[in-house]
């Protein structure tokens, strides 16, 4: 299999954001067919002091080596993908993600995450989100074997 070289990740322009959370609603529509956003959304926008911040997966892939059943893999387009049918809901990836980007909703036991689908980008009325291409080697992170040494 050809090894992916690049991956699309979300870039956020806080200056443009108006805090409407349409992005979260669009995301929860993708993952749960619900417009609730919040805990059902893989992207989180929150206000910090005078500005907005985004929390979302950056596809560094640290979780890939955590999965005991091989439900996590880097797909051809470079994104880190969780196969919900293989997942056995252990939450190891949720617990170990250093940026809290692997999400868990009360709606089901299997976690979910950003798949760089662009629904949030399209939903944003202020163009505050963009998908940009990054080299996987620049963002890739493997800490498993370094932990504890």
């Amino acid at each position: 299999m050809a090894i992916p070289v690049t991956v699309k990740v979300l870039k956020f322009y806080p200056d443009k954001c108006n805090g409407c959370l349409d992005c979260e609603k669009a995301c929860s529509q993708i993952h749960f067919k619900s417009k609730e956003g919040g805990e059902k959304s893989a992207i989180h926008i929150f206000k910090k002091e005078d500005t907005y911040q985004m929390s979302v997966c950056d596809h560094r892939g640290l979780c890939l080596d955590m999965c005991p059943v091989g439900a996590l893999e880097r797909r051809k387009n470079g994104i880190v993908w969780l196969d919900k049918n293989t997942c056995i809901g252990c939450q190891a990836c949720v617990g170990f993600c250093p940026i809290g980007a692997m999400r868990k909703s009360n709606a089901r036991i299997e976690p979910f995450k950003c798949i760089s689908c662009g629904a949030c980008v399209r939903a944003c009325p202020e163009n505050a989100l963009e998908l940009i291409e990054k080299n996987i080697d620049d963002i890739k992170e493997v800490v498993y074997h370094k932990l504890g040494v």
């Binding site: 080596d65 059943v69 809901g89």
Partner: protein, 773 residues
């Protein structure tokens, strides 16, 4: 070294790949009995039925689990005790037809969100001890057994031919099948059966199979362990965890079982069907994060597994070396965790059940065997864990590679590394004194450090060598003690004091000489000297947190009960206190890890829908603990005489040991025994040894007094009917048996305290028959 983020299919271990004629293997499978059952969902952690298999009669049936059974026995080991009580007699021995091999799960077993939730509990009457032995083990079997539809499986009777039992959760079918052509040894048969029974030729399909097997060593010794497999999709190997203690594998082979296979169709994070899955996930995620942030600063389990303990034990004089004569050794740094870290494969989720991020199950992949029938084969060695490495030091083997060799062959031959290592260490000490020699050892030069002779011993044992020594030695320390004494080769007292067994079971790998509480933790146990009941060395010795007899007795009540609880639920104990919250030292009772105790309260409630608190958890254990002790009494054991431990566990046996720690012992003669420095100078070592001997033996008896009293037992260590009733038991057969036994003890003068109490000291109670009040 592999750098991580390697696609699973591309992982390579470099191990030898076997080619087997599966057509031929399968052609030997004749179905002797078949049982169809209705597949159904689990209910709040329970399958609500157990599976009964009789190999003598080929009867297979299911038994239902009642609410009363759950209330009294909770699950896991508790269910095992209940099933044994219903099936065996007080005269049942390990090789009796009615003896059972029981594998149970527990209501929390099989959840994937909380680390350490995949344990099975195995019970049988042990060949080593003639009483119940319980042993807990990881691997996928327990969870899969439950997902296939059963809280426990009990196997009674003996097959006439080599058989396997297949519990097929996909089809809802249990079969007993002949299996003449499969290998017996674990590393081969596990892979053979995994491939045969997987629905598809894929790793994901093979991951849905778990096999229990043992090996030829189990057939020819009392040390047989059970290997529970868990298929590793990255290494593409059937890895194993061991139910090691007490000869379960010996019983397994006596029943002519080659393997038990279980298979699930599919499962997910809520297959256990908990009442409140979100709480389970929340509590689990909290622990994952703790492990992520703190393990590297605490135990380093994720990196080197339980072997992280070696350097700590060596530093505190607790690492058994040369048959527990010493607690540290100049060469010990050769087997420190960093040496094994260099050998372990490092990039893989190493939990023995899904979701265990404590991940202590390390392996060495691509290891080339140096000896024996598989010499030259390249294999994955599962482990070594702390106990196995410490067996190395106990036999004075300081080369990590020889420890791996010992580890691998013990596993595949189905031998418990602990019993095997501890016993060989004893034989080596006897060899050093000339009590044993090359001739008496069937030509084996079993001197300390001779790893090649150790492996030679294992290979000959596994082949069924008929040499006198090998035949006796394979039955363990107790039988060899008797054999040496009968032959008049050595001083009886010295031999009794040096061989590390109690109740017939070999000690696990900790030096307990300076911790009275830990001596109790080994001696005042149900099955024998295993550290799973209590591990109080640091609390007692290093932190001095339990100074009085009453304090020690309280600890020897609480911790054995608490640790028993894991076995009732199908859990691993490690995530309780081998990872601790950052603020744990500031809590009221740091030794109990209060936040994690609360996690377990929340988990049990979230899975079962009950509303229990932490006191109820201890009560659940107390019921089973007392029931097991009472069953031991019923079988003629479980009394003060059976809680005896060899003096090597209490203090220096030989002059060399005294001299090696002279300052420590001299100081004790002054501080504890009241001798003056002048007195001591006049004494020779032998005299000093005698004083220490009498003092420490008496301390142990006083400890036993305090512990029996705290546990609500008689001074002879017998659970009282009053205690059993208070715990909710009404079984009249049990209550009458205990009453009768206590009466008999009264006549024999056994209902009196064992310790000698001098002026100013008091036994726990001066009331005769305090338990009646």
């Amino acid at each position: 070294m592999v750098k991580g983020q390697v696609p699973i299919l591309e992982y390579k271990t470099g191990n030898t790949q076997h080619k087997w004629d599966f057509k031929r293997l399968k052609s030997g499978h004749k179905i002797l009995a078949k049982y169809k059952y209705k597949k159904r969902m689990l209910k709040r952690g329970y399958a609500d039925r157990t599976l009964y298999i009789n190999l003598s009669t080929n009867v297979i049936k299911e038994k239902s689990v009642t609410n009363d059974m759950k209330k009294k026995f909770t699950g896991g080991r508790g269910f095992g005790l209940k099933l044994l009580w219903d099936s065996i007699k007080p005269t049942t021995r390990w090789d009796s037809d009615e003896n059972e091999l029981i594998i149970t799960t527990g209501p929390l077993c099989g959840i994937t969100q909380y680390p350490g939730s995949g344990k099975s509990l195995c019970l049988t009457i042990s060949p080593s001890t003639d009483i119940i032995c319980d042993s807990n083990v990881g691997g996928f079997f327990g969870p899969y057994l439950k997902f296939a539809g059963f809280d426990a499986v009990e196997i009674q009777g003996k097959a006439k031919k080599e058989i396997i039992v297949v519990i097929n959760g996909e089809k809802g079918e249990v079969t007993i099948e002949t299996a003449p052509y499969e290998e017996t040894n674990t590393h081969l048969i596990n892979m053979q059966l995994t491939r045969i029974y997987a629905s598809e030729d894929s790793d994901k399909s093979r991951q849905k199979i778990s096999v229990i097997s043992t090996g030829t060593g189990a057939e020819h010794s009392y040390w047989g362990c059970l290997n529970f497999s868990f298929y590793d999709i990255r290494r593409k190997e059937t890895r194993v965890k061991q139910a090691g203690r007490g000869g379960l594998g010996t019983v397994f082979r006596d029943k002519k079982i080659k393997a038990i296979v279980t298979k699930v169709e599919k499962f997910d994070g809520v297959s256990n069907n908990p009442a409140d899955p979100n709480t389970v996930a929340k509590v689990g995620t909290k622990l994952h994060r703790e492990i992520r942030d703190l393990d590297r600063h605490q135990c380093n389990m994720r990196t080197v597994g339980t072997g992280h303990l070696i350097d700590i034990m060596d530093a505190y004089d607790l690492l058994p070396t040369e048959n527990y004569r010493f607690g540290s050794f100049p060469k010990a740094s050769k087997i420190y965790p960093n040496k094994f870290y260099n050998l372990f494969t490092k990039i893989i989720p190493d939990g023995c059940w899904h979701g265990c991020t404590l991940a202590c199950s390390k392996t060495v992949d691509g290891y080339k065997l140096m000896t024996g029938p598989y010499k030259g084969e390249i294999v994955t060695v599962d482990g070594p864990e702390y106990e196995t490495i410490a067996c190395g030091s106990n036999m004075s083997i300081w080369d990590p590679l020889w420890i791996l060799e010992f580890n691998f062959y013990c596993d595949t031959y189905g031998l418990d590394t602990i019993s095997t290592g501890t016993a060989i260490a004893f034989y080596m000490e006897m060899y050093e004194y000339g009590i044993l020699n090359k001739k008496r050892c069937d030509g084996l030069e079993l001197c300390f450090g001779n790893a090649e002779a150790v492996l030679e011993f294992l290979h000959r044992l596994a082949k069924g060598d008929k040499g006198n020594f090998i035949k006796v030695a394979s039955k363990g320390v107790r039988r060899v003690k008797d054999w040496i004494i009968e032959n008049g080769w050595g001083d009886k007292q010295f031999i009794e004091d040096s061989g590390m067994e109690s109740k017939g079971l070999e000690f696990s790998e900790y030096v307990t000489k300076e911790s009275l509480a830990m001596q109790g933790g080994y001696g005042l146990t149900l099955k024998g000297p295993q550290h799973d009941e209590a591990w109080l060395i640091f609390m007692d010795m290093v932190n001095d947190a339990i100074p009085t007899f009453a304090d020690k007795a309280e600890a020897l009540h609480y911790f054995p009960m608490w640790r028993t609880w894991f076995g009732l639920n199908g859990l691993c104990k490690l995530p309780w206190n081998d990872i601790e919250p950052a603020n744990n030292p500031e809590t009221d009772e740091p030794a109990k890890v209060p936040e994690h105790v609360q996690n377990y309260v929340d988990l049990q409630n979230a899975v079962t829908g009950w509303k229990v608190d932490k006191k109820e958890l201890i009560l659940q254990s107390e019921r089973c603990y007392n029931w097991q002790r009472a069953m031991n009494v019923w079988m003629g054991r479980g009394q003060r005489k059976d809680d005896w431990i060899p003096f090597r566990a209490m203090g220096p046996v030989s002059e060399m040991e005294y001299i090696s720690r002279k300052d420590r012992y001299d100081k004790q003669l002054v501080e504890k025994l009241g001798y003056s420095k002048n007195d001591i100078e006049k004494m020779d070592v032998h005299e000093k040894l005698n004083h220490i001997y009498d003092f420490r033996r008496n301390e142990y008896e006083k400890l036993a007094d305090a512990v029996y009293y705290r546990r609500g037992w008689t001074p002879n260590g017998v659970p009282t009917p009053q205690k059993m009733k208070a715990l909710g038991f009404t079984n009249s057969k049990m209550l009458k048996m205990l009453q009768k036994k206590i009466k008999k003890d009264e006549k024999a003068g056994l209902n009196k305290w064992g310790g000698k109490y001098t002026k100013g000291e008091k036994p726990p109670s001066t009331n005769k028959k305090y338990w009646e009040k």
